[in-house]
């Protein structure tokens, strides 16, 4: 079973609704025993980075999630701040991230922008695949909904899965072994988001 981790953060109903629309069974749970049995894990996240890390720690679920992800290597999909937590840290906060992927989360940099853009980035962007992946199958000219001021910057270029351009090009998705994460919101990206979540449900 795919478990959407409920650690007190994020738009969980939307994620479950979209998975359901794509025909993927999923359960929202904050119970360690459910996560222990999970075949796949979806890690959501929303709002401030430190708040997410604090909530994850306070939930008591962190050790079991780390064990599932790093020892058992079950597929994990991080969404938005869920992805950012994979990294070692974030410019938004003081707390350390999970450190599963080398690199940081940084604020969108106005000084890098070739076109003047507002921050936060709110809206739809077309994304470019940086490497082949099951998660991208069946997606033609995909566009996704973004709502963020920060983006991840993996140290290993080969971890980059997809990029997008908003003033400048940056990483909006990573994949390394069993870990996949996206900065955008597939649960709010109609047919493209449904396809991506369906891929995670069926091809992983």
């Amino acid at each position: 079973m795919l478990i959407i981790v409920d650690y007190g953060v994020g738009n969980l109903s939307s994620i479950r609704n979209m998975l359901k629309k794509g025909g993927v069974p999923a359960v929202i749970s904050g119970r360690a025993e459910d996560i222990e049995k999970a075949a796949k894990i979806l890690l959501p996240g929303m709002g401030a980075f430190d708040n997410c890390m604090e909530k994850l720690d306070a939930s008591g679920l962190r050790p079991i999630i780390e064990k599932k992800a790093m020892e058992e290597k079950v597929p994990v999909l991080g969404i938005c701040v869920g992805l950012q937590m994979f990294m070692e840290g974030s410019e938004e906060g003081k707390l350390k991230g999970l450190g599963w992927i080398k690199g940081q989360t940084m604020r969108l940099r106005p000084e890098r922008m070739q076109t003047e853009e507002k921050i936060p980035n709110m809206g739809w962007l077309e994304v470019t695949g940086k490497k082949g992946s099951r998660i991208l199958e069946g997606l033609e000219e995909p566009r996704f909904y973004f709502a963020h001021s920060y983006h991840v910057q993996p140290e290993e270029p080969s971890d980059e899965l997809v990029s997008a351009f908003y003033g400048y090009e940056f990483t909006v998705g990573i994949e390394r072994d069993n870990l996949t994460g996206v900065q955008f919101h597939p649960e709010k990206s109609h047919r493209f988001g449904m396809q991506l979540l369906k891929n995670f449900g069926e091809k992983y």
Binding site: N11, S14, N17, E126, M194
Partner: protein, 258 residues
């Protein structure tokens, strides 16, 4: 290619969906769930739902109705109307709302903006600013569905909201609402030049060309009501949304004012 959000605005009134002219003369246009389903199929960018009774009736958001709407929205959904506590904000996000829109409370209790931004991130906290010209032709901010002036200038108010932590400003012209007169371009220009955060323009759109004009004036996104629910010239109820091809040609291609 730069994508510009084009956002239908749905007004909830007594359980149904209505459309106004100048924030008055409400006309019933259908069932909200059905409308959301149709917009979903049209693969629209985002949707704004405003409960125009909640604030006036001094009740909180109708969580049951919002839950039903959110369950059908596979697109970003922003909700406004009657939000006055951080617990309501929390509940709305749990139900699947992507953004909250504050109006009266943004004015009465700006700390709610700050608190909400801390909880859900500033990108998810929108302040709506309803503007009407006074007797002397000066733009002034109104709250409570346009019924109460607060005596403030829109620019000064918008900057204060940005300072309080709002991630986006939803600017609506009461004078133009439902009139098909086009957006208030000078006001859009004035605010968007001064703001760091995105501005959504609303009020007066009659055609896709108006969207282009608003983007040209500096808006980051455009919203409309009547245009998406009525078919002119006779204003028969018909839900529509521009094709992606038309949007690319007439909206996405417009250079933005810097």
């Amino acid at each position: 290619m730069r994508h510009v959000r084009v956002i239908p605005v749905l007004l909830l009134h007594k359980g149904g969906l209505v459309k106004s002219v100048k924030f008055k003369n409400y006309r019933y246009v259908g069932d909200p769930i059905n409308a959301v389903k149709i917009f979903n199929e049209k693969e629209i960018d985002e949707i704004v739902v405003l409960d125009i009774d909640a604030g006036r009736d001094q009740r909180g958001p109708d969580m049951d109705q919002i839950k039903d709407i959110a369950g059908e929205a596979f697109i970003p959904l922003a909700y406004g109307g009657g939000i006055s506590t951080i617990d309501e904000v929390k509940k709305l996000f749990y139900l699947g709302i992507e953004k909250v829109i504050l109006n009266f409370q943004a004015h009465a209790n700006p700390s709610l903006i700050t608190e909400a931004a801390r909880l859900v991130g500033s990108q998810s906290v929108v302040v709506s600013i309803d503007v009407k010209k006074n007797l002397f032709g000066k733009n002034k901010v109104y709250v409570k569905n346009g019924t109460e002036g607060i005596g403030k200038d829109p620019l000064e108010f918008a900057l204060a909201m940005q300072e309080a932590g709002a991630g986006e400003i939803f600017l609506n012209s009461i004078d133009r609402d439902g009139t098909y007169r086009g957006y208030d371009l000078p006001l859009i220009k004035e605010l968007s030049q001064a703001l760091r955060i995105p501005l959504i323009a609303c009020g007066g759109a009659s055609s896709i060309d108006d969207f282009g004009s608003a983007i040209g004036a500096g808006a980051s996104a455009v919203a409309a009501g009547s245009m998406f629910v009525f078919q002119r010239p006779h204003n028969a109820v018909l839900i529509s949304y521009p094709s992606r091809k038309d949007l690319k040609e007439k909206v996405y291609s417009v250079p933005r004012k810097q």
